[in-house]
Symmetry: C2
Subunit: 297 residues, 2 copies
Amino acid sequence: MTLKQLEAFYWSAILGSFALAAERLFMTQSALSKRIQELELEIGIPLFDRTGPRARITEAGQNILGRVENLLALRDEIVLAARGPIGLQGTCRFGISELMAMQFLPKIVAAARAAFPDVIVEPRVAVTRELLDDVEKGETEFALAPGTSENPDVLSRPIVSIPLCWVAAPDLVKGKTSITSAELQAYPIISMSAQAGSSLVLQSFSAQHDLRFRRILASNSPEAVASVTMAGLGIALLAEPFVKRFIDTGQLLRIDIEDQPAVSELQYSIHWRADNKRVLAKKIRELAYEICTRPLS
Amino acid sequence: MTLKQLEAFYWSAILGSFALAAERLFMTQSALSKRIQELELEIGIPLFDRTGPRARITEAGQNILGRVENLLALRDEIVLAARGPIGLQGTCRFGISELMAMQFLPKIVAAARAAFPDVIVEPRVAVTRELLDDVEKGETEFALAPGTSENPDVLSRPIVSIPLCWVAAPDLVKGKTSITSAELQAYPIISMSAQAGSSLVLQSFSAQHDLRFRRILASNSPEAVASVTMAGLGIALLAEPFVKRFIDTGQLLRIDIEDQPAVSELQYSIHWRADNKRVLAKKIRELAYEICTRPLS
DNA sequence: CACTCTTACGGCACCCGTAAGAATC
DNA sequence: GATTCTTACGGGTGCCGTAAGAGTG
């Protein structure tokens, strides 16, 4: 029995797929498949059921999964105890929303590389729904995203709350900086794609005021939304820190909604699976939390 | 990092010697030395101090030793959980005194081989002192021997108490079956070597009655002591079950000591290091305990 | 000089990746 | 036919044992 075999088994069990596990471990499916076969031969019992279209973990596999998890965690602790953080190796994947990425990702990656030079950090930028899905499936160690997961296995810890604001090109609203929600309805709305955090706020806003918006763009990129808005195509609901530079230069105008005094805020949290025991994941998650909650310098 | 490296480190640390660890792991010193070097390279810090005549574990090595121990125990538990006892591999060395060996060793070995077919069982027959030394040094997993260890790290659990008796050739004592302790002093004493359990009883007996014996043989073999005694060379203190067959055939005569009404008993126990976490060792130790305390069939 | 660990080197075995095959939807 | 896992095969590397070297009491 080898640590490599156990790691192959572990990731195959967590991800429910040999192909994904092989990708994570930077090897081919074929090699991983054989590693697991050798492990099964070693302990003399099948760990996966290959009868279906995809390999499903057997009861025997489920029985040892927790112990294998503990063993692998112990391996990382041994390295940590002997050499400190710089000795850790491995890969850490995490998800991050674009807005958070613009503000924090460079710092997170830099800090992670400094603390764990031999660790491969793989951030993935996506919209909220995808980020949370990946965490639930075990594909990423944690995610920095708005909202909370409805999955009880996923824990969330708030980090920052970012105010949203309505913006438009000055021409479009003829210089008006304050309109009613009814008036707002007349304008085309430029929004992020439906699965993004700010779109969820937009949905709840429209439901609350019984409004129907005409959306003319659903982009995954806030930059795209901002540029289209600056071109005068409509009004957008965007994160205030993100559009501040455009407001300062006069490219966008901040619009207040008269009958909506309180500005909506997007609550960002860090999300992770409660059963994730990986030492590396925990360290980098804490590091990311630290950076995102630290007062801006 | 590999399990083999960790195991090499573990046994080198426990036994305090690369040579002994290599012997235990059925490999050459040279190969083991390189394995440990590779582990040190892997975690980036020396685990042994080679400046002295023998490799001494460093502080860093000491720091990880407990975790490595847990990791290796977890490996065995994984096999146990998946496959049951028959999946366990490895070597189990234990010590046993000759008298216990005659009565129980075949049963213990047979039971161990039946329960753990892939385990190499290495019993070692020796006298009490050596058996306990080996347990203290970590060379054996446990020992079946009389008495208790003065080392607080060694736990002892009683198994059986075996009565001792004085025996002599009928000719030597002219058929007398009862003598005083003073008369006993006149005869040559044939005893086990000084480090055997029965010799320790003999020492305490002589101290108690302020007697000085003339010893004419110190053998590690009870068979040798019995045969010499049957030849009429002196009186011996031997285990009753062992000499029963000679008494029954008339080759030896049982001698009672008039002023020593209670017969000395040799209390046998099973001894093991309290910090021994090895799964295999524990299983076979319990198996041996079971067999030695089971009513004789 | 006995003992212990290290270094050098030759050979074998293991393990990986490529490529093709089988099974399932 | 797309996806997923398995099997077959060639090649490179890692690891072991033998043998010689170095340091210590």
